[in-house]
Amino acid sequence: MSLAQPSPAQERWLVLAARYPALRALAEVQHRTGGWKTSSWLSRCLFFVLGLAGASMILGSLMFVPGRLLLAGLAMLMLTEWMIAQRRVVRSGIEEALHVVGLGCIAAQLVLWMHRPDAGLVAATLALAPLLSGLRLLNPLFTALAAVIGSFAVALSGGSVFLEARLHKQAAALACLALGIAALVAGGRRHARPSHDAMLDGLVIAMPVAAWAWATWAAPGAPRLAAAAPQGLAVWLPALIPAGFILACVVLGVRRCRHAPLVAALACTACLAHALRALTGLPLYWRLILWGLVALAAAVLLEHWLRRPRGGITSQDVGEDSRHLDMLQTAGAALATPRAGGSEGQAAFQGKGGEFGGGGAGGRF
């Protein structure tokens, strides 16, 4: 039994209890979970926000102390370790917020103490905070965040944050692409810890999007069918990256029965649509309406077709915890509701349908 974190066996029991509510009471017994306590995602979110509030209070109370970032960071880390040792909390939100902010403060203090640091070194130092926190607390979001910040380190190495022309954007895109492919390949191997799987899943989702973002930033323009001059690879790269990942992720996601590659495929679809925005020359609203209808029709037909399991794949609810999914749907519908129409003197209608969320729903695709 480890005080630092649950053992792989204990972690699997915790994941089982979270994943299958009907089996929770049997799974969450002392000798199986080692007394470790987790949180539902809703309470984890609240605990995380409370943790951020607490971290800001610690920082604020040390405002006038020399080396305040280092002191505040150390205080937060000590508090986190005490909570983990005494309360045996894991994936609860509160310790995650304190730990990542604490390490972030220490990293920021180190950067402030550096004498004229290279921009790449600054980014690498800042990336260490979520990386170490993610590895310590087995948090996949932090490790994915570290990878994204790390891509800035690649882009900024030897360059300057103030001179865009000297950013190595294509190098950063290729680094993200390589890491995404590596994560996709490594995800096929068996891992004892579910959290290691989750970390690879986070990279599978985040890295293709980051690669696309860097390639888009590096590209001189969007590809067009009726282009006046031949368009180089740099123009097509923002489309090729997500297109390749969509294909690979759908195949591997279905074959491995894993959700992360399928989520990555959905995210890459939005990226591909943005990359090909100038291909047809249609106005933005027609593209949104047509492609939205195509996506809606495809999803409706697929859902209908998979009601009966085909090759084991189904669109039905299969008993996993879905209470909070219902709440998300309710909140999503509320947020999608158009706001009040025009008031006196307002010339144009601003229906604002779907202003919140959704690719392109706000007119910014």
């Binding site: 699997r12 994941v15 089982l16 994943r19 299958y20 089996l23 539902s40 809703l42 309470s43 409370l50 607490g54 209070m57 109370s61 909390v89 096929g188 068996r190 891992h191 004892a192 029965c257 959700h259 399928l262 106005p283 933005l284 609203y285 593209r287 949104l288 309406i289 939205g292 996506a295 809606l296 495809a298 999803a299 037909l301 697929l302 859902e303 209908h304 998979l306 084991g312 189904t314 669109s315 609810d317 008993g319 996993e320 999914l325 749907q329 309710t330 519908a333 509320a334 999608a336 509701t337 158009p338 706001r339 129409g341 209608f349 229906g351 779907g354 969320g357 959704g358 690719g359 392109g360």
Partner: protein, 314 residues
């Protein structure tokens, strides 16, 4: 990849285990069964938003070129098609699937866009232009009842709150104390109405799924209303009393109904209300120290309450 098959087999051999639930979990872990419901949910929601957003942009971009009646007719026809498609399974004696749930949501969003556009363009309601939101809310409520749709009910409740002037935006925080006070009382009134509706659904047992939607809206609106009142020094102490009472009532309801979300709302909102009050009353010297104590107390209380909630779980 990881698998929980070994653990599930151990559970299956244990006396008192729900064998059917374990077998279903084993099928999922072994890959014999794989649900893509969540991915489809995300895709459906995103697609509905994209179409609704495209329609909004179409209207804005073509106001001068396409006749307003033609545009309005087009949107209404599209909305009607969505409603008709969603009605088909019911007419055929089948249950409506997830996909058609979101087609119905798209229909509702298009109807909202059409009515809002019509009001801006033709000013049928004159000075009472905002009443179109009330009409929309009633329409959505009626269609939510007819289709038994929680998603459309959410749209109805949001439209009604919008008619009362309860729009969630950061700009509202800059309205000043008077504006926030009015917002606060309206939010509380709206919350009371939604709570009454939830009680009715609970006692009448009709459309039982609607009850939770009403309760969620009521809880959030009530807390937001109280927090808004707290920003005005004339209603600050009244807001504090209301916050304590509301937190106690909501937390207790969460315990009785075994609903963690209500307990979380009670602790979360009351913590942030307390922090806001401390920020207003205390100087910078002690604000952070008191705030840290407040957050620590909230965390400990929440850990304790969650443990008790699990202890009493059936």
């Amino acid at each position: 990849m990881h698998t929980l098959e070994a653990e599930l087999r151990e559970l299956r051999a244990q006396p008192g285990a729900d064998v059917a639930a374990v077998d279903r979990a084993l099928a999922l872990e072994s890959g014999a069964l794989f649900s893509v419901r969540r991915e489809l949910l995300f895709a459906l929601y995103a697609a509905a938003l994209v179409v609704a957003g495209g329609v909004a942009l179409l209207v804005r971009a073509n106001l001068a070129r396409i006749g307003p009646l033609a545009l309005l007719a087009g949107i209404l026809v599209a909305s009607a098609v969505c409603y008709a498609l969603a009605l088909r399974p019911r007419l055929q004696g089948r249950e409506r699937g997830l996909g058609l749930d979101y087609v119905l949501l798209l229909g509702a969003l298009l109807a909202s866009a059409a009515v809002g556009y019509a009001e801006v363009q033709f000013r049928w309601l004159g000075e009472g232009w905002s009443r179109h939101l009330l009409l929309l809310a009633l329409w959505h409520l009626a269609t939510a009842w007819l289709y038994d749709s929680r998603l459309v009910l959410s749209v109805a409740l949001t439209s009604f709150a919008g008619w009362l002037g309860l729009e969630a935006s950061l700009a509202r925080l800059l309205d000043g104390p008077r504006g926030l006070r009015h917002l606060g009382w309206r939010a509380l009134a709206c919350a009371a109405l939604y709570f009454a509706a939830a009680l009715w659904h609970r006692h009448s047992r009709r459309r039982p799924a609607f009850r939770e939607v009403y309760e969620q809206f009521a809880a959030h609106l009530a807390f937001w209303g109280v927090l808004a009142l707290g920003f005005d020094e004339r209603t600050r102490w009244l807001a504090l009393a209301l916050l304590v009472a509301l937190a106690w009532f909501t937390g207790r309801a969460g315990f009785v109904q075994r609903r963690e979300s209500l307990v979380l709302y009670a602790i979360g909102y009351s913590t942030f209300g307390a922090l806001a009050l401390e920020a207003q009353l205390l100087g910078r010297a002690f604000m952070y120290e008191f705030g840290l104590l407040t957050v620590a107390a909230a965390v400990l209380l929440l850990l304790r309450l969650r443990a008790r909630l699990k202890e009493y779980a059936p």
